[in-house]
Every structure is written in C-alpha cells, then in structure tokens.
C-alpha cells in the first residue's frame, strides 16, 4: 500500500511540471503560428511537445529527488539546463515545431527558453529561500506556543 501511495504522489509531482512545460511550448507554438497566419496547432505537434516535457519532468525527479524548488548542486542544474535545451531545441529541429520562422525568430525563442531557465534559477535561489526562512521561523514559533 505504501509503495503505491509513493508512486501516486510521484506521479502528481511529475505531471504538474510536465503540464507547465507543455503549456509553455504550445503557447509559443500558438503565437508563432498566429504570426504566420495559422490559427491552429496540430495534435501530433502537441503530442511531441508533451513527450519532450514528460522526459524533462521525469529527468528532473531523477536529478533532483528532493524537488526542483530548492537550491541545487551546480553540476545537476547544468545537466538539467543542458537536457532542457537538448529536448526543446533538439525537438524543434527534429520535428520542425517552429518551421518557417526567420533566424532572428529562432534566436528570440532560444532567448525566451534561456530566460525561462534563468528566471527559475533566480526565483529558487533568491526569492523562495527568503520566504522559506520566514516560513520556518513562524512554524517554530507556532510549535512552541
């Protein structure tokens, strides 16, 4: 029973991140398509994006067993960023997710991807750490009352 419950909770965590990444990718694809005068995203592309996000979210649970939302060893963070780039940039090249965009458009998309990784790193290492310290101080106070 315990094993099943652990697996169930792991699934909940993993699919949450997978969902966020997939929605981000489909949003970018939707914007690119709309700029090209096409207002649909085909389901095969969405499925490919879902699989790429599933792989990244699953790799995260192996790289960061304690969760992504905490300060991580630099080496593992670098592997995670490299894997994210490999899956998303590689996926775009292999499956032609953003076909037809000019070089500067591709560079903008890569910049958005890198900015997303940087924003996650900054949020985890600065803002969340301060909030975590405050939460734990208040928790200790509550437990002592």
């Amino acid at each position: 029973m315990n094993g099943f419950l652990r697996w169930y909770r792991w699934g909940l965590q993993m699919k949450y991140h997978m969902g966020i990444y997939t929605v981000g990718l489909i949003f970018c694809k939707g914007v690119v398509n709309a700029l090209q005068g096409e207002y649909t995203v085909d389901s095969r592309t969405m499925l490919e994006m879902l699989v790429a996000s599933l792989l990244l979210a699953s790799a995260e649970t192996a790289l960061f067993p304690g969760g992504l939302d905490r300060p991580q060893p630099k080496g593992r963070t670098a592997i995670w960023v490299a894997l994210g780039n490999l899956l998303y940039v590689g996926g775009s090249l292999v499956f032609g997710w953003f076909q037809g965009i000019p070089l500067w458009g591709a560079l903008v998309l890569v910049l958005i991807l890198e900015a997303g990784f940087f924003a996650m790193w900054f949020g985890i290492n600065v803002a969340m750490q301060a909030d975590t310290a405050d939460l734990n101080r208040r928790l200790r106070k509550y437990q002592q009352e």
Binding site: L5, L135, K141
Partner: protein, 149 residues
Amino acid sequence: MKITVDQTGGGEVEVILRCREVDEEVLRLLALLRSGLQKLCVWDEGRQTVLLNPAEVVWCETVEDRTFVYTAGALYQTGLSLGELESRFGDLGFFRAGKSAVVNLHHIRSLKSCGGGRIEASLPTGERLMVSRHYAPLLRQRLGQEGSV
C-alpha cells in the same frame, strides 16, 4: 497561568478553569483538555481497531474515498473524512493542506516555499507533502504571516 493540583482522595477527576474572560489562551486550554478525552478511532491493515491520541497523528490523506492516517511509525485507516478530522482536531494543529490531505502542524519538520505559490512540508515520516496553491495562503495566515489571504 497558575496551575494547582488538589488531591482529595476518591471521586471523579474534576477540572475547573478560573479566568477573567474566555480568551484565546483559555479556549486553547479547553481544546487541549477535550482532546485528551477525545480519541481517534482507526484500524490497521489487520483490521485491528485502535484508539489513537490525535496528537500522535502526523498527517492524513484520502485515496479513492478511503482516509489513511499516518503516525510516526504506522499507517491506519479511519472512517472520518478529512473535513471531519480538520474540524474536530483543528485546535490541535490539524490543517487542511490540500483536497486530499490534512497535516498536523506540530509534526512538520520544515516548510519550503515552492513555485506556483505552493508550500512543501517535510514530515518525520520522510514524506514531502505539497500544500496546494489554494491552501498555502491559509497556512501562511495560520502561521501569522501578514497579508497572506
């Protein structure tokens, strides 16, 4: 607060609370006294019924309409819903952490601020419980963080 134990011999144990007004401290004392009388009826995997002290409960969760109760070293089931657990033992630190989980705040080892406005609670059972975005502001409020809700 003055505590006096008056040993009179036989008869039933009687507790009298003398106070100027029924403030938060008195209410907490009352809850504590009542909780000492209240037991949580649970059963283990062998269907053996156990009367558990609510303070021993680390956290509870529902999976497929069944409510599981975790203590530091054992896993039980109870017939009570999470809502009932929260309302009965809220004064003892039981807090609704999500649609399917209630945690005893006194057993949380540490909290961690997470993405999406969620909070992760580390428990002595080794579990990491995610307080959802909906319930995290309520937890912050319960812990006295201003402007949380």
